[in-house]
Amino acid sequence: MKKELEEMKKERDEYLRGWQRARADLLNYKKEEMERMKGLMEYSQAEFLLNMLPILDNLERAEQTIKDQGFLQIGKQMRDFLKSQGVEELRVGKEKFNPEFHEAVGEVERTGLEPGTVAEVVEKGYTLNKKLLKPAKVKTAK
């Protein structure tokens, strides 16, 4: 009888611990879930904006041939919208190639430039809230 009681006590403690753990797990899970949601929202916004950038790239390609005022205004509208979402264009000058922000797509002969210097930006790079969203595609000097 005593032994049985001991066993039951032990069992009870085990169940209680399991239940407490389950309660704690749930609360912790909820907290983690909140964090995860926040991360997910940031991620999905970045994904969305990233998928929009190729459209802007093409718009810019078009702007080099089509100089119609109305058309150019659409480009401005798009850039203003992206800016309002925290997207900023990477400024790339005649600087040393930096793989943190640049992606090399080719090399060109360019007199007066040190080899390995950015000679030409082929596709612009962008940051989202100061973090890199897409590197600038550049050609470097040979």
């Binding site: 078009a62 190639f97 090399a104 080719g106």
Partner: protein
């Protein structure tokens, strides 16, 4: 440690989790470079300068690790890889990066060190121990070299684990005894087949095969070639000579391929792809899933041939295989899944992210070694939805499928007719919207409900499933507290086949079931409205002008006429017309009421069993 990409995962709260690197990506390219100013770059940064610095950018070093320079594979890859290679004094391989010669394992160590540092930053603690995965066909020397790479990176390598075994672990297949598993791993640049045998506490590799130079990138190339060919035919311009156009084509080809795993058709839209004397040229083509399948059919067939060959070498037939596991992003392609399924006549395991399943399996193995993965409490889930039959034979679901048990759920129902004193509760299991299409688990009657108009009594139905899968259904009249219940055992214990059959049926009948349900819902709505209209006329007939009254009466007759014989459109139309006529009564009575300062109590709506 993949040939093209690497990943790191940890155990957190008993589950495997892939960690993001510093750049925020879940995968890190297995690429290392020495930049032109002598800096060592690892991962995406190394990849970003690969085009302009090919001689000093080392990638796919997994093809060389632990191999002898004279190996046929090394000699073959030497011709394909753009960096310099030579025989090391010990007979191994050395690769040149910058001015220095490195062993492949030193390159791998740099990738591992980056993974380690990024993970430590993410987790905020030091990581000292690791499990590294390798292909099942790696020999002792390749495994030793991989382990050494891990040690150079600062890990204590607890185990060098086979990639297919890791994938099987991620799916929990180590628990099934005496099973044979085939792992079909179609990566970016390599295709690996492994046959595993699970027995008491061990997973043994029974056979391996594949093609070290076949992968998802070949699929992208096929799409690119097709685009170049079409464009040449239509515009007479060869895009393959234009490196910038090629870059855009490569990205677009991969994107199209990925999209066609979920869509039936996609568009490749590259404006201003090039230009000639006549001005800019644009590329715009549609690609269907069937076209893509036609383009890559030969590769899929080749992979199946290789699977058959591997089975043959292990003296096995497709029917000897109990489980099929898909690994690698390319296995998301429906045609590939279908072909594999047909060969084995078995649904493959593909619910986990095929890009991450190996890393996750490695983390699970680490958890097992550390004792974190205990079989503490295995919680079951309901394989199918549970519900009750409500007015018109509709299946009203209370507990959705895949709900973890124990669980409970209640909902309040009411009566369908005036002075109804009993309700029948019919418990069904399945996904079909009409109760009759599902499995009947049992029924009971709750009586003794006080006579009252329809919709007034409140009957609370509670479903409760305990940890053993025993379902109790209770119906309680909230007015009298009188209740009735039923106990159904084994509601979660359906056989796998039974569950599959019920799911298949639900899919098969989805369209007709929905139609039927829509019709019944429309009819239920018409019924309720008819009831309300007749009651309103009876209660407030005197307060309403004659022309409105006669309009409502006409509409009532019209709706009654189409209710049981008309089409759904007629039924919905007549219901709408009656509803509008009724509103006129409402507004007239309300205006009068307002003048008298009366208020109408709000009316709630309830569903009726």
């Amino acid at each position: 440690m993949g040939t093209t990409l690497s990943e790191i995962a940890v155990m957190e709260g008993g589950a495997a989790k892939v960690l993001e690197n510093r750049e925020g990506a879940r995968t890190t390219p297995s690429v290392v470079a020495v930049s032109k100013n002598g800096e060592i770059l690892v991962g995406i940064q190394a990849k970003r300068q690969q085009i302009t610095n090919p001689q000093n950018t080392i990638f796919q070093v997994k093809r060389l690790i632990g191999r002898r320079y004279t190996d046929a594979e090394v000699q073959r890859d030497k011709k394909l890889l753009p960096y310099e290679m030579r025989e090391a004094p010990d007979g191994g391989v050395e690769v040149k990066m910058g001015e220095k010669w490195y062993k492949p394992l030193e390159i791998s160590a740099m990738v591992l060190r980056k993974l380690k540092q990024d993970a430590e930053e993410k987790l905020g603690e030091k990581i000292t121990e690791a499990i590294i995965t390798v292909p099942a066909y790696f020999d002792d020397s390749q495994r030793k070299a991989t382990k050494a790479a891990g040690e150079i990176a600062g890990f204590e390598v607890k185990r060098v684990l086979n990639e297919p075994t890791a994938a099987a672990l991620a799916y929990g297949l180590d628990k099934q005894k005496n099973e044979r598993i085939i792992v079909y791993d179609f990566g970016g640049g390599t295709f690996d087949i492994s046959i595993l045998e699970v027995s008491e506490n061990t997973i043994e590799v029974k056979g391996t095969g594949g093609d070290t130079h076949l992968g998802g990138e070949d699929f992208d190339q096929k799409v690119m070639d097709w685009l170049i060919g079409e464009f040449k035919k239509d515009q007479g311009i060869d895009l393959s000579k234009d490196p910038l156009a090629l870059q855009r084509l490569k990205e677009a080809a991969e994107k199209a391929k990925v999209e066609l795993s979920t869509a039936m058709e996609t568009e490749i839209n590259l404006p201003f792809i090039t230009s000639d004397a006549s001005g800019p040229k644009h590329l715009l083509y549609k690609l269907t899933r069937a076209q893509l399948e036609g383009l890559v059919r030969e590769y899929i067939e080749k992979s199946i041939e290789l699977v058959k060959q591997t089975l043959k070498e292990a003296s096995l037939n497709p029917q000897d295989i109990n489980e099929v596991v898909l690994v690698g992003g390319q296995t998301r392609m429906p045609a590939m899944q279908e072909t594999v399924k047909q060969l084995f006549n078995k649904e493959p395991n593909k619910t986990l992210n095929p890009d991450e399943v190996v890393a996750m399996g490695a983390a699970i193995q680490a958890g097992i070694l550390q004792g974190e993965v205990r079989d503490v409490l295995l919680l079951d889930v309901t394989p199918l939805s549970l519900g009750i039959e409500t007015l018109g034979g509709v299946n009203t679901i209370l507990i959705q499928k895949n709900t973890t048990v124990p669980t409970a759920k209640s909902q309040v129902f009411s009566t369908a007719a005036d002075n109804q004193t009993s309700v029948e509760v019919h418990v069904v299991q399945g996904e079909r919207p009409m109760a009759e299409g599902n499995k009947s688990l049992g029924r009971f009657i709750l009586d003794g409900i006080a006579p009252s108009p329809r919709g007034v009594p409140q009957v609370e139905v509670t479903f409760d499933i305990d940890a053993n899968g025993i379902l109790s259904v209770t119906a309680k009249d909230k007015a009298t507290n009188k209740s009735q219940s039923i106990r159904i055992e084994g509601s979660t214990g359906l056989s796998k086949e039974e569950v599959e059959k019920l799911k298949k049926e639900a899919e098969l009948h989805e369209a007709e079931d929905m139609k039927k349900k829509e019709f019944i819902e429309a009819r239920n709505l018409a019924d309720t409205l008819l009831y309300t209209a007749e009651k309103t006329l009876k209660d407030m007939g005197e307060k309403v002008s004659a022309d409105i009254k006669s309009e409502v009466e006409t509409r009532i007759e019209a709706l009654k006429k189409v209710k049981d014989s008309g089409t759904i459109e007629e039924l919905k139309g007549a219901t709408e017309e009656l509803s509008q006529a009724l509103q006129k009564i409402g507004s007239q009575v309300y205006q009068q009421g307002e003048q008298k300062g009366e208020e109408n109590p709000p009316q709630g709506e309830q569903s009726q069993p």
